[in-house]
Amino acid sequence: MLIDWTHAGATVLAAFLASLVEFIEALTIVLAVGTVRGWRPALTGAAGGAALLVALVVVLGPLLDQVPITWLQLVVGSLLLLFGMRWLRKAVLRAAGIIPLHDEASAYRKETETLTRAGAAHGPWDAIALVTSFKAVVLEGLEVVFIVIAVGAVGGRLLPAAAGAGFALLVVILLGLALHRPLARVPENSLKFAVGALLSAFGIFWVGEGVRFSWPGEDLAILGLIAGFLMAALLSVDLCRRSLARPSPAKP
């Protein structure tokens, strides 16, 4: 029972946090479209994108039930591991100042300028606004779809994963409605750290299961793996900062 709750809880949390990051990025663009070109095409495009993503989850999710569990663990686990570790490395490099932090306010400004330069709409529908909004939701949402299907499919937890993503969407929509500006104060890099560790832990756990390695403590090992990846990431940040802070050798 405890093991089941550990796994389901981690699934919901991973889907919620990862989706939160992606929905915040999509919200920035939809807000820019709505402010510059009008709310009707912005929201119609966003709704169309969201419908396409839901259709992808509904079609692809149950299809994965047909795949043998060992193959599913290996393939989905490997993809999830690569995905999570990519996020983790990016978060490390951002925290150490090697690459710049993602800035929602600056992304909003750039998008607003581009949309203003694009000129007035022709005809009853503003195609530029519609497509920009649709594309933002679909491209950012692809990551959400992957995460929901990946963390949900292997353990038969598609519903908790979808619920986590749905809750993240609700939170972002409510915040967007209340604030009417990009969510620039959300600690996006800290979220990426947490999500990277969670997804890497899930990924390596399933790869291990897929190749028939046995984890000490079975499903509870996921908690240890999350802690382990977080510690490795924090150690990496520390090493990077030390390397950058060391005084340069004098030039001859």
């Binding site: 990519r86 490395r89 490099l93 291990g208 190749v211 382990g228 990496s236 090493l239 950058l244």
Partner: protein, 77 residues
């Protein structure tokens, strides 16, 4: 077509950011899968070692990125 290319690029970018880093993870996972069962005395160490190797790849790759960044900064001075 642009749309399709953008979607394909986005899909590829989900998993690959830095090619040597991704390659190192894949190589370690494949090597560990085949080598660990034959090399460890106690099989209960296989899974933790598999995970530890991935964590080590993260540490080494980040540290290497810091060294390269530092070199670039020194060259610009």
């Amino acid at each position: 077509m642009n749309w399709f290319t953008a979607a394909a690029r986005e899909l590829f970018g989900l998993f690959v950011d830095d090619v040597p880093y991704t390659a190192a993870i894949v190589i370690w996972v494949v090597a560990a899968t085949f080598a660990l069962p034959d090399t460890t005395i106690d099989r209960s160490w296989d899974a933790p070692l598999l995970a530890a190797g991935c964590a080590l790849v993260l540490v080494v790759s980040s540290a290497w990125a810091a060294v390269r960044h530092r070199r670039r900064l020194d060259e610009d001075r």
